[in-house]
Assembly symmetry: C6
């Protein structure tokens, strides 16, 4: 969609799905790494995140700090450069663990320089070992993805039974991947490394 295309046009932004008071909605997780010359360090979290969602961010970061080298990500960047995760809109309180995959993807996108694919949205809790754990609100989230023009949605394997509740015509227009490890999420959600080189050309 135009909006997700615009938002995810730079590395560091991933498209998530949330349940709100009035249904579901698309949500963007933005990550930044400070210029090492600017002297920043540590992890900054903004977007009026609740306790559970702040913990999701810490889990996403620790996952990459402990497993990032296996994924060929330059984890040394996390040492010298302050990490900031933000979830607009700034004034709206948000909570829950289901943005875990989205936060991990935003950070991995930033570290790898591979933008997230504009047609992919995702939802799922992440554990410290990278397992994707089930979340709530699958129906509302898929309806919201569909409304936003998303064509591919990633959900936790253990949420597959919830697809029964989603209207068939919506499912027909979405490619849904059920995943159990966050590495599958990264494979499906990040643009291929080649894409980056093409952009730089």
């Amino acid at each position: 969609t135009p909006e997700t295309a615009e938002r995810t046009s730079v590395p560091g932004v991933a498209t998530g799905l949330a349940v709100t008071g009035t249904g579901g909605d698309v949500l963007f997780v933005e990550a930044s790494l400070a210029d090492p010359e600017s002297g920043a360090g540590g992890l900054t979290l903004t977007g009026q995140l609740g306790d559970v969602m702040k913990e999701s961010a810490q889990i996403a970061l620790s996952y990459l700090r402990s497993r990032g080298a296996e994924l060929e990500l330059p984890v040394g960047d996390l040492k010298e450069r302050g990490v900031h995760l933000h979830v607009p809109a700034g004034a709206i309180p948000k909570d829950g663990p289901s943005a875990g995959v989205t936060m991990t993807t935003a950070l991995a996108s930033l570290l790898s320089g591979r933008p997230a694919r504009a047609d992919v949205a995702m939802t799922g809790e992440v554990s410290l070992t990278g397992r994707v754990l089930p979340i709530g609100g699958v129906k509302q989230k898929l309806l919201a993805a569909h409304r936003a023009g998303i064509t591919t949605v990633l959900i936790p394997s253990r949420n597959e039974p919830d697809l029964d509740d989603v209207p068939q015509d919506v499912l027909d227009q979405l490619t849904v991947h059920a995943v159990s490890d966050v590495r599958e999420v990264l494979d499906l959600a990040l643009s291929p490394a080649e894409a980056r080189e093409r952009l730089a050309a």
Copy 2:
């Protein structure tokens, strides 16, 4: 106006617009960088800022820490020198995300040495990637800008429809720019780099 001219006569001050209990008002964001010899570090925020507004300041700072070099700003200054953002009046509580563009402009003005233009006021939330997100109170803010003698106002693109609510005679006397990236804000709000040299001459 005399007041905005006086307030923005030095780099580091930008003119924002706020909604108050009794309408709208002009508000100044002041930024300072400590002398490196004075040993200060980190980010200090004052002006009885609420949680959302404090997060806006962190976003503005992280935006410049991660993208400042692209903008040819000397981000190394942020390492050695304590940053302080203050929003007078000191005793009045303030909150909300809409000063994001103003905070980014005040900091960029300070780093670049380019004073903000005295005839420009602005409002808009900023995301970590520099996108300008919509805010509330466009009508009250434009009325306040007009009352204060401001001639140019910067608003988020997604707030353009709100201009319909602003009296035509006020719009006639204002140049309104609808922006979607904070780089547009910096281009429009900061005095040209030449101006600084002229001052130094």
Copy 3:
């Protein structure tokens, strides 16, 4: 069981037992160590842990920091690498001291590189000298272990009398070890060191 096998297939995950509002349940404690290049330090705790459970994590870590060398664990890793302990599910509040043995086992598994055995679950408070102190809910915890396909359960020696309350057919299908020192737990719960070498081969 398939789930515990999957969860404990990597070093750093141990299977505990908890009392919940509706009986007992199996719970996984996950530990990670940051890549030294990533610059992380200190102890991060997530999973909506209550005060007592956070203290259990500190005790588990201090036990290994003071006694780990005797156990031939590479405690120097704790200096250079940030430690993170997480207990999914992320949104469910948890408290109490009875995950002490599980936390100690998860950390020792990570440091030793020896995965925890998939057929073993455990419960018990740990003191700073490594003594295993009694806990509550033995009956519910053993029923939960049995339901989850666990075949070996470790309980504190001082809880042996509580086995009288457990149905005989459940006890018949479980091997229960009553332990008084956490070193016994590590001996029984971690895969032999050889296993690791075989995996690496």
Copy 4:
């Protein structure tokens, strides 16, 4: 007056004016810099100061950290030496932004070694760029200054209209300076640099 003479006889003490439950009162702001050999650092604030008044102290310090070199103050002292600002009496809660000029003067007095003039009292909020902003209670503050034997009072320019409320016989005995930049305050309130040399002779 004897008391203000005694209190301001050493560099680092400035005389302010406050509104209390029963009218106005003279108040002293004391500043100290730790001996570099004593190893102290940072900013310590005492005197049961409220949030707004603590922010005033941070603003005063940042103003001097960013502009002190222009004022020929030895800002390097702020790096190596812990700064302490205290407002007696220790048990009386105090708040509000109007001691900003007094705090700036106390610190500048300490850094310059120039004692504050015993016959001068002051009130005014200070912004981060050194602007003196209006405050409340001008009438009560001038009556208090007069009662305490003060002969010169510094007030914000924007408070000049409030002088209409002050009894003419009190105004006749006071020299009132309306100031808009804190540099004017320092010029009027600090003893000339020569005075210090005379004392040292």
Copy 5:
């Protein structure tokens, strides 16, 4: 007793006495020092300790930091090695100053390598200069010590009059030492240095 013998068999554990809702009880204070290679620092306190009891731990530590060298304790260990004091059971809240002597003894035992004597229990507040100050609950504490098979109890000198309330047959089976300086406590409660060498042989 078997339990105190087991608990105090290693250096770093001392036997205290507490008043509980249902009378008195024996309580163990455990201390650990992190392996210097593990990189830990500072003081960690666990066991759901209240504010007063946390302060007792700080006093015990500061006493040893300032007077330990006189007592021929290797206080340099406190620099390089994180100190942890824990009072099981982990889930039971505890408070009050009367574990001061027990905390000091546990730490001194750890530093000296001399285990605490298994037949000795103690109660008493400690001041920063090592004075033993009076506490409450002497009767309940001595009854609890007697029940637990303790044969020697250390109490503050100023609590000697409270011995009148203790049943004579209990007093007949206890050796009670009234002490006024914590050095007397250490002399009476720690095994002789020779004992350690014998153990090491």
Copy 6:
């Protein structure tokens, strides 16, 4: 008196006077400096001190950090050695600014190695420049000093009028010094430097 003699027999303890619910009482302020080898730093405050009393301790320390060299005190000790101030009894909450002179004396005693005189008690707030400010409860405090066998009491000059309320027979048995600078307190309350040498002989 025997108790004050015993308590003040070592450097670092000074005798203060407090108002309690039931009249006045003698109170001891204890100070310690950690062995530099033990690695402690900073200021630790214990004794259930309220906010105002904690600020008094910070003022006492800053006074000595900024003026200690003039008083020929070895302020470098404050850099390398953790400072701890404790006011027994540990479980009794205390507050108010009137222990300022006592805290300054305890610290100066410790730094100088000169014990406080056992026959002297004191009360008074201290400002950051060392001025002794008035306090409450003079009558109750002098009665308490007299009951405790104290023969010399130091009070703030501005409290001299309160002596009218003290019974004449009590005043006849006390030497009362009214002081306005904390240096007078130190001169009157600390044993002469010679005394220390005599003790060391």
